[in-house]
């Protein structure tokens, strides 16, 4: 039978494909339905954010960060202002820090909801997507009230936030917490025990701890392997060290763990929001910041736990009001590298399960 000529087929998954969630192209070579080679092609959405930033004042860069991981723009905002504040040793008013924390955790919930919905949609379950969107809509509506935008928030400023919460907003967040808790149960009941779903994600796309570290994975991709690393705990920023929450950790590093950690992490985010809303102080929301922000010369890097992993901003400053060089450490970009390794040897249907679970946002991959 060895004389039979095996023929491989090259299949372009994307740049326009329902499962790539954006303009991502995956050139897979398949033998029958088995993948023998997978080459990721990115860059279709490259806007040169880092280059643009070199000609922008720090405040002007903030809207550009909104467009990176557009599902978690608040967290991106924070990554930038945090680095500038760190470089300038600025003090941020407590109320501003609380507001930032609340919106970041809400944004994390919204982003994870989107992941769960989209992931299950990829696996062929249509309804969870729409269920997940109901709560996401509530979150987006709250963001709309606090900053006037539903997707690109541009809410944070160096030294604080742009607007204080409107009257009654914090009560809404408070009411959202028990509601969200109820919905977790529903979201979990919906598919987490479904035999078909479990068969598709359990033991699929397994990442080992060594691989995860070697590939610089971060966020849920790293934690799913059982490695407890969350910058909110390991290198606390903002007020995370003042609140009580856990870091859920997986054990198998498979797609199911990654899916399930998203659910569990949202519960922890709700816990943080609940505590923060209960203890938020009054006061100003913008600290004493010079009109023209100049970062002292030097190079600075800080990173925070984004919705998809370690989101870092590296600024080289020459003391002017614009960065000399700004580099964004985008978790999706780094995490996506392991895709090739996960895909080779798998079948085409597993491709979708694996790609979806890596959880990328193309705006962030391409920057």
């Amino acid at each position: 039978m060895g004389a039979l000529r095996q023929e491989e087929m090259i299949l372009n998954v994307g740049p326009q494909h329902p499962s790539t969630h954006g303009v991502f192209r995956l050139v897979v070579t398949i033998d029958g339905e088995q993948i023998v080679e997978a080459d990721s092609v990115v860059g279709y959405l490259h806007r040169g954010t880092e280059k643009l930033a070199e000609d922008l004042q720090y405040t002007q860069i903030i809207p550009y960060t909104d467009r990176l991981d557009y599902l978690a723009s608040m967290i991106n905002n924070y990554a930038l202002v945090h680095t500038v504040e760190y470089a300038m040793d600025l003090e941020v008013p407590a109320r501003a820090e609380y507001l930032r924390l609340i919106v970041m955790e809400l944004n994390r919930i919204g982003s994870h909801l989107m992941f769960i919905g989209a992931y299950l949609l990829d696996l062929g379950a249509m309804s969870p997507f729409l269920y997940a969107f109901q709560e996401r809509e509530m979150i987006v509506q709250m963001f709309n009230e606090i900053c006037g935008a539903r997707l690109t928030y541009n809410y944070m400023r160096v030294g604080g936030v742009k607007w204080d919460a409107p009257p009654g907003w914090l009560d809404k967040v408070r009411d959202f917490v028990p509601h969200m808790r109820e919905r977790f149960k529903m979201l979990s009941d919906l598919v987490s025990g479904n035999e078909i779903f479990l068969n598709r994600v359990k033991g699929i796309g397994v990442i080992t701890q060594e691989e995860a570290l070697n590939y610089s994975l971060s966020g849920i991709n790293l934690r799913s392997t059982g490695f407890n690393f969350d910058l909110r705990k390991n290198r606390p920023y903002n007020l995370y060290d003042q609140f009580d929450f856990d870091i859920p950790v997986g054990s198998n590093g498979d797609c199911f763990d990654r899916y399930y950690l998203h659910l569990r992490e949202m519960e922890q985010s709700v816990r943080i929001v609940e505590q923060a809303v209960a203890s938020i102080p009054d006061g100003p929301v913008l600290g004493k910041v010079p009109k023209l922000i100049r970062v002292p010369a030097g190079e600075y890097y800080t990173s925070i736990e984004g919705a998809r992993g370690e989101l870092g901003v590296y600024i080289v400053s020459d003391g002017k009001d614009k960065p000399y060089r700004m580099k964004l450490r985008r978790p999706s970009f780094v995490n996506l590298q392991i895709l090739r390794k996960l895909l080779i040897g798998q079948s085409m249907s597993n491709l979708i399960a694996i790609l979806g679970a890596v959880d990328i946002v193309l705006g962030e991959v391409d920057a």
Binding site: L123, G124, N194, N199, R200, S349, N350, L351
Partner: protein, 333 residues
């Protein structure tokens, strides 16, 4: 009148041939109407299940939505890809579509058996003709000269051939109990026995439902057209009315398989008080609703699991059901 509609019992004459033609046209139009509202019904039902409203813009309550959609598809440009195999590309939707209507000839819609061919091998006829549709799907996938289409076509060929076997085997129990392949007589046998075959044939019914959904290429067995993997599977390259043909064929089969399930397992048109056609409509609607419900609930199964399930679970279970039915039948009688 009796001679016009009586082709199922009397010999073929000129007048009954005319009646046959008229009957076929009536059934065709009726089914087209049913199918277009089936699509509307599906969108509404799934919309409600997902906390949405569903179509509500075209006409009152969106009732004309399907009409508008079909009209749009009919007047769209008929795109034929340059490198497609033109002849087969044009032929494939027809081959897929025609059998879907032909299978309806043997379904007993009412007690009077108007519009029903009293074929002695009705069950076999259904299964045989529905297998021709697979040929249309595979050809469409191949002729499109698109890799997604090819993969979709190959998947559907593998899937539908596999699931045809448990589908046929699951019906054997009913055939053994009723002693006939004629769908009219199967309904009659359920009336004599005063029991729907779903009760003695519950195992067969379960196998039938699962493999029936797989034959329909619907969630959770919608691999051939898994949009998250294969874009649209075998009809990726189709547009306009050729796409509509595939789409209609799919929904006609939704109706047909529900009608078959009703006839084989749920007592067909029989029922107290209400007219027979209404009973039939109610039972078929319930079956169709179940299909929609499953679609809104389930994720998609994976290819190898799908095949394994057919060969390792469904076929043995169906065979066991046949054995059990035969044994009980022998002992009981």
């Amino acid at each position: 009148m009796a001679s016009l509609w009586g082709w199922h019992t009397s010999a073929l004459t000129g007048i009954s041939f005319l009646g046959m033609i008229i009957g076929a046209v009536i059934v065709l139009l009726l089914i087209l109407g049913i199918v277009s509202y089936l699509i509307y019904f599906e969108r509404k039902v799934i919309g409600w299940m997902q906390g949405r409203i569903g179509p509500n813009r075209v006409g009152p309550f969106g009732l004309l939505q399907s009409v508008a959609d079909i009209l749009k598809l009919l007047i769209k440009e008929d795109v034929i890809p340059t490198n497609a195999d033109r002849a087969l590309f044009l032929l494939a939707p027809v081959i897929a579509f025609v059998p879907s209507f032909m299978v309806l000839a043997v379904i007993p819609f009412t007690a009077t058996h108007y519009f029903t061919a009293g074929l002695n091998v009705g069950v076999l006829y259904y299964i045989a003709l529905s297998s021709i549709t697979i040929l249309g799907i595979v050809m469409g996938g191949w002729a499109s000269n698109n890799k997604y289409s090819l993969l979709g076509g190959m998947r559907s060929a593998a899937q539908m051939i596999s699931y045809e076997i448990p589908l046929g085997l699951s019906l054997l129990g009913v055939i053994m109990l009723s002693g006939s392949l004629n769908l009219n007589q199967i309904v009659a046998a359920q009336n004599y026995g005063h029991v729907w075959f779903i009760i003695p044939q519950i195992i067969g019914f379960v196998v039938f439902v699962i493999s029936g959904i797989a034959e329909l290429n619907r969630t959770p067995f919608d691999l051939p057209e898994a949009e998250s993997e294969l874009v649209a599977g075998y009809f990726t390259e189709y547009s306009g009315f050729r796409f509509a043909f595939f789409m209609l064929a799919e929904y006609v089969y939704v109706f047909a398989i529900s009608a078959l399930a009703t006839t084989m397992f749920l007592g067909g048109w029989s029922g107290p008080f209400l007219p027979s056609w209404l009973w039939f409509a109610i039972k078929v609607s319930a079956c169709i609703f179940f299909l929609f419900w499953v679609r809104a609930t389930m994720p998609r199964i994976r290819g190898d699991q799908l095949m394994g399930f057919a060969w390792k679970v469904l076929i043995p279970v169906a065979l066991f059901n046949i054995l059990l039915t035969g044994a009980v039948y022998e002992i009981h009688l």
